[in-house]
Symmetry: C2
Subunit: 401 residues, 2 copies
DNA sequence: GTAATAAACTCGTGCGACGAGCATAAACGA
DNA sequence: TCGTTTATGCTCGTCGCACGAGTTTATTAC
């Protein structure tokens, strides 16, 4: 592992080798269950090239071909799938209450291996437990594990956690311990960002050129995803939409700024409107309020105000970012559903006139609780399915040279 | 021209041909005056490959090599530059008062060929005049002209103008007339978006991973530029930051929404604070106010309020988009300069706490009035310097096959 | 069965890039 | 002034990927 193996100069040529192979693997990943013939057609490959490429990839344990259910005349084609000895990635999702650790092959479907609730108030214990889970997975699969990707309910910057009010962890949490002595790349990402990526690739926004994912948990998060890649800024801390000053500038946000949108949208907002003290668990409070809203007029009104603030802010984001589609995650969808007319009115009213004729559809997230896990697996595979990644894989398997 | 010429199947291979050549051309474009040796080093090419690639590109009239000023020992290398018979693009900038039409070679530096003031209130006359200018350039250079790119002070969507309050043109303006019978691709882009691209590539934000460009003219525009590409959404209408609801929700914006940021930032805001009626020319009014501010306390205070609103909104954008650097264009820089303390205080106060230690630098645009023109040239070259673009160029020059 | 069909396999070719060795043009130094 | 040093350009044999055309194979339809 970590074999340098190649002379400096040949990098470009060595990378060009994988053009066709990578395209095939991406197709297989994007649409598990595609047939070889379909891939060849889509990529404009001749059957000869397809034969060569699949043979090469089979030899490298990057894919397998299985008999396809025949349909119609002609020689039957094969279904492409991940190889049983092929590369794997580990996806971890650290949420407020618990964590999950999953394994995914090149088709990107995470299979949960372990899951556990946090030891409350003790980040070190949680991290140690997760690290052990990762290590067990690694022990089981050896060098097949090519990357570990972590989705965490925290602000992430330059691959590290910057703040994590949600988790109640201090800001000195260092997730690098998760792969301490494993020689495997570790990727850290914000959970909402990764969930957005997952929705844009395989979820409710599949196929969209520019998808805006917005989620409400404690506060508001999300991301714009363009061509399947999150627009997360220079340091990866983009998507903090909750801290756009759409709100009441008299309100000071725990983040340090004032007028933050999320203060007018989440459980804290609803509590304020109802005259309740600030809830210690805004997510739970919000959920409870949404449940009570149908029956209690006061709650309904408070929820409506939050939905209105949410719709208005969303309109601003649509104005500024021009997405194809808006995907709502977490409590965002139930909030809209609880006060649909007020939400939609505010959204429409906030749109620039020329957008109103054909506003982007606002849809519910399709992947639900597994979005972040899917996104983590996807971001890990993004590293594996590169020219460098395949070079490394191939070099390890054929020690010649 | 428009020769199909190629069989369907070979597309992938035919594109792969240009990998090395494109990389070299991009280097030459990114840094006019680079030497062949420097390019080879950066790209990791052997001298043999460099020789081959440059020879091929010279034969195709895509670059020339000129003697470099020798510096130090060793065989002198050559400077790469655009070929005198090489491809060209036409860049047009349509501003509020006038328009300019320029030509650029592969180094992307636009040379203004014609410029003229608008025939006021008559879009058709302006468009006809611009079309003639484009035609004259095309007549002069023939098939060397590969694309026409237009920067326009209007909202652009799906390659067409959607609204253009600034120009005072109706919304039925069809810019496709600009290349009516010329068989040349026409690209339409928002002027602020293109200026942002130019600043990110060669201006004040050169080298930034994520640059946020914000400009104040009539209203607020701009764009986020990631890796040199504008994040302009699904239809190209992104970057309308002026219509984020950071402002006073009691104010209805001509765009149809309410609470738009730009109403609290531009000349209209200053007029309102001074008790003046809404100015017919907000840009000129704003400029005048900025001039008077140093001497007149009331004006200074009104300008300060606008600068504060500007800084606060900018902070929100930084929170949400996480840029490396913020570039101010148009009146934005003078507005900041006129009330620097209030601007900076509002900006800092609006940032999330973890961003305050190292906020992105806020700098003035470097390309000034030529930003949009540079950006238009760049977007046109983006089309030319692709595998398809070079294939077409090569096919036209060697009619064999 | 036999024809029709779709797709896989085989093999010769083209082409871009590599590597190693050679050639060349300047600056340096005795 | 002239060899030495140094950086670069040029030549040519080789490799590997994808192509194209032709052949083979597996299935359905009649």
């Amino acid at each position: 592992m970590a074999s340098p193996a190649f002379r400096q100069g040949a990098i470009r040529a060595r990378n060009a080798r994988w053009r066709g192979a990578l395209a095939v693997l991406e197709e297989m990943r994007r649409e598990p269950g595609v047939t070889r013939a379909a891939v060849a057609r889509r990529l404009g490959l001749t059957t000869g090239s397809a034969t060569e490429i699949t043979a090469r990839l089979r030899d490298l344990a990057l894919l397998t071909e299985t008999q396809a259910a025949t349909s119609g005349r002609g020689r039957p084609t094969t279904v492409l799938g991940p190889h049983p000895q092929g590369p794997l990635v580990v996806a971890v999702d650290i949420r407020q209450e618990d964590w999950r650790c999953a394994v995914a092959a090149l088709d990107g479907a995470p299979v949960v291996a372990e899951a556990e609730a946090h030891t409350h108030g003790d980040p070190d214990a949680s991290i140690a437990a997760i690290a052990q889970a990762v290590r067990r997975v690694h022990d089981r699969h050896g060098d097949r594990v090519r990357a570990v990707s972590v989705a965490v309910a925290a602000t992430v910057r330059n691959g590290g956690v910057v703040q994590s009010a949600t988790l109640g962890w201090g800001d000195a949490v260092d997730l690098r311990a998760l792969t301490a002595d494993l020689r495997v790349p570790l990727l850290i990402g914000n959970d909402a960002t990764l969930a957005g990526v997952a929705e844009a690739r395989r979820g409710a926004a599949a196929g969209a050129a520019a998808a805006l994912y917005v989620t409400i948990e404690v506060g508001v998060g999300g991301t714009l995803v363009v061509d399947g890649r999150a627009v997360d800024g220079a340091t990866g801390a983009g998507g903090e939409f909750g801290h756009l000053p759409f709100g009441d500038s008299a309100l000071r946000c725990p983040c340090g700024a004032r007028g933050c949108w999320e203060l007018t949208v989440d459980g804290r907002a609803i509590a304020r409107h109802l005259g309740d003290p600030p809830p210690r668990a805004p997510r739970g409070y919000g959920l409870e309020a949404l449940r009570r809203a149908p029956r209690e007029a006061a709650v309904r009104s408070a929820v409506g105000r939050a939905a209105e603030a949410f719709g208005g802010g969303l309109a601003g984001l649509v104005n500024a970012l021009d997405p194809d589609v808006v995907v709502l995650g977490g409590l965002a969808e139930p909030l809209r559903a609880a006060a649909e007319p007020r939400f939609t009115a505010a959204l429409t009213d906030g749109l620039m006139r020329f957008r109103r004729a054909a506003p982007p559809p606002v849809v519910a997230a399709a992947l639900g609780e597994t979005g972040a896990l899917h996104g983590a697996a996807a971001s890990a595979l993004d590293q594996v399915l590169t020219e460098d990644g395949l070079n490394a894989w191939a070099a390890e398997r054929s020690p010649a040279m």
